[in-house]
């Protein structure tokens, strides 16, 4: 197959399209009357909604911590503190996504636009990692001094096993939920479902863009 042959084949396809491709003008005209948001802006409402709910939760837990500071168990205060800190980080990711949404210009060059869109989508995985990191505090917030004073060895052992396993699992997932593991069984089990497909695809696309950028950089530096 010569280079020209490929272009000739494409031209024959072009010719066929020219002869047989018909534009439905009425439907195209209808499109110019549709009132919708631009490409990426349609993602904004759900992000804003999540940020608002997140902020309400943060205000609620922070108020609890402040008001109960002198009376609550230190386990509750520390657990709630960690949980609310992780929630704040997750809100930060949503704010970052909002900035990316604002920056995406669909008529801008492909590489930069796709990088923003892929970053936007794949950053959702960070929220999941943070959510998993919260796991251990849900096993500690209810501890109190009376439990420690009146409990028995079995209760302590059970509690320690539960908290230790949740901590191990949370840290392990935090470090292992990444693109390189996307084909592992456990990964597919967690991210099973159509709603996760775009996230995985965007991670793959981000990898392609990184390769492109690396190649450009190495070409520039070798010049």
């Amino acid at each position: 197959m010569k280079e020209l042959e490929m272009i000739e084949i494409w031209k024959s396809y072009d010719k066929k399209l020219e002869e047989n491709l018909i534009l439905n003008r009425k439907n195209t005209e209808d499109i110019t009357r549709i009132k919708v948001q631009s490409f990426i802006s349609s993602m904004k409402p759900i992000k804003i909604f999540t940020i608002v709910i997140g902020l309400l939760w943060v205000v609620f837990v922070d108020t609890l911590i402040i008001n109960l500071f002198s009376v609550a168990s230190p386990f509750f205060l520390i657990s709630a503190g960690i949980q609310v800190l992780l929630t704040k980080l997750a809100i930060g990711i949503y704010l970052y996504q909002m900035i990316l949404i604002q920056q995406v210009d669909i008529s801008a060059p492909i590489v930069s636009t796709q990088e923003k869109i892929a970053r936007l989508k794949s950053s959702t995985i960070w929220v999941t990692r943070l959510l998993f990191l919260q796991l251990p505090v849900w096993t500690t917030y209810y501890w109190n001094e009376s439990m420690l004073e009146n409990g028995n060895i079995w209760l302590y052992a059970l509690q320690i096993i539960i908290t230790a396993s949740f901590t191990y699992l949370a840290i392990w997932l935090f470090f292992n939920i990444r693109y390189e593991n996307k084909d592992k069984k456990w990964f597919r089990l967690i991210f099973n479902g159509r709603e996760w497909n775009p996230v995985i695809t965007s991670m793959e696309l981000l990898n392609q863009i990184r390769e492109y950028k690396d190649e450009t950089r190495s070409e520039n530096s070798s010049r």
């Binding site: 197959m1 280079e3 490929m6 272009i7 084949i9 494409w10 024959s12 396809y13 072009d14 066929k16 399209l17 020219e18 047989n20 491709l21 018909i22 534009l23 439905n24 003008r25 439907n27 195209t28 005209e29 209808d30 499109i31 110019t32 549709i34 919708v36 631009s38 490409f39 349609s42 669909i106 008529s107 801008a108 060059p109 492909i110 590489v111 930069s112 636009t113 796709q114 869109i117 989508k121 159509r194 709603e195 497909n197 775009p198 695809t201 965007s202 696309l205 392609q208 863009i209 492109y212 190649e215 450009t216 070409e219 520039n220 010049r223």
Partner: protein
């Protein structure tokens, strides 16, 4: 002379460049039903962006950028398409297939299949190359350097030639 930004001018622009939209949508979407949605989405985004079209770029550069950006990111909407867009009952572009298929048609199909097997970004470069855009134009559409584009084109062409020769042997 500057371009009028009304619906009639837009229709003329789309009519004149409908092939670009069809070819890109066809290269990124295998499923015929989804392709209809993708074509509608591309035309919708072209319309929404039409008023901001910067005339310092060629009209086709603007069209290629939007059509490719929408097509490459179409995966994003797989689950939410129905909620966001308002699908029209009929498609916008209809291709009337000729009944008798020639040897050339088989070659076209093969080329299509090989292009669809390329990674998304490589596919964009190859489509622009086959459309006989200059390396400078491809670089502008992609946002890469001309040297970078030249290297990539020769690498992708080699890949395609290899695929063709594998079929023939």
């Amino acid at each position: 002379m500057s371009l009028k930004r009304d619906a009639q001018t837009f229709l003329t622009v789309i009519e004149a460049n409908k092939g670009i939209i069809y070819k890109i949508a066809n290269s990124y979407c295998r499923n015929a039903e989804h392709r209809k949605d993708l074509i509608q989405e591309i035309i919708l985004q072209l319309w929404l962006s039409f008023h901001h079209y910067d005339e310092k770029f060629k009209l086709t550069t603007w069209m290629y950028r939007i059509a490719l950006n929408v097509s490459i990111s179409f995966y994003r909407k797989e689950n939410s398409r129905d909620q966001i867009s308002q699908p029209l009952s009929d498609g916008i572009l209809h291709l009337y297939e000729a009944e008798n298929t020639s040897e050339l048609d088989a070659e076209v199909d093969r080329l299509h299949r090989f292009i669809k097997e390329l990674k998304e970004m490589d596919r964009a470069i190859m489509l622009l190359y086959l459309e006989e855009n200059s390396q400078q134009e491809i670089a502008e559409i992609l946002g890469l350097t001309v040297t970078n584009i030249a290297t990539k084109i020769s690498r992708i062409k080699l890949q395609l030639k290899q695929k063709f020769s594998n079929v023939k042997t």
